[in-house]
Symmetry: C3
Subunit: 131 residues, 3 copies
């Protein structure tokens, strides 16, 4: 397993980590297999989504914020309960197939760390398996 | 990896692809393992959900539409930002266990391609691994 | 594949199943690999989320309930359409890496069965693979 470090810049943002994940695949020398991307945090998530228009990421953040306002009434009092809610819905793990040493992504897809309570230094755990 | 093609019929629908995915498992001759179902699109998703009452799928679409109206204010101007939002929440990959050559689904479960911006011809990538 | 049984106590609750899943890993004798956690139900889900403050689980349930009230207008008439909606968004499968025989969870992470239509006896299917 490789541990990547990602420094996020804002409270909420989608950070494209496709090239960092591809580098782990490159380093493994693996041609055919599966790549697991795992976020060990509870206020961040991982998603495979559109990487072409950065407006998509801003809209995602704006509309999740509309569903779960930061200042809604929450029992958990760390001031980031909105981030836990967004993280549980987006999810903390992604699976991407590997073919001929490359992540098999669709035309418009990129792999994103979804930061919901930054800026912070986040870890992304990547594991590659052959077969 | 096998690439399936699914022609969706409406802008929003759940398409049961269980039998197509099972055929890939059949063709692999694999008895015991894992089946990965991956959607290479950013306005469609995959889910394992109730396949018995088709009203469930219609309710899912109606209530996701309520949360993310197509005509809400979005910066992304392709007219399908609602579909990106639904897709990121439902997710673009599913994992199903295989036992004795069959997908291990619960009594009421089927595998669905979730179309949020059809009708279109969609791909579904399926990979089966032994062990 | 191991089938765990979990008796839930309320209509909606997060049940921490980390130790039960770890026991399956222990029993497998596996040092390095992947653990798949699969929920064969359509009104329950699995999530890796904060296990330190139980208020997080209560807030998650309260705010998902706000998005999908049980008594909203639904075509599916089993009285649990809200639970299907929550389940499809949280998801029915989790993947956790295994290192030195232990589930690789972040500092604050636990594995939860998310009950949305209990109390019931639920199954959790766990598969462990080496490599």
């Amino acid at each position: 397993m490789m541990k990547l470090t990602v420094k996020t810049q804002k409270r909420e943002e989608l950070c494209d980590i496709t090239s960092e994940v591809q580098k782990v695949v490159d380093g493994s020398g693996m041609s055919d297999g599966i790549c697991y991307v795992y976020i060990p945090h509870t206020t961040a998530a991982v998603a495979v989504q559109e990487g072409d228009d950065s407006a998509v990421g801003r809209d995602i953040m704006a509309h999740l914020r509309r569903l779960f306002p930061r200042d809604a009434q929450y029992e958990h009092n760390d001031g980031n309960m909105d981030a836990h809610l967004k993280a549980i819905l987006v999810g903390n793990a992604a699976t991407v197939l590997i073919d001929k040493g490359k992540l098999c992504l669709g035309t418009w897809q990129s792999v994103f760390l979804c930061e919901f309570d930054g800026p912070r230094t986040r870890e992304v755990w990547v594991k590659v398996r052959a077969g």
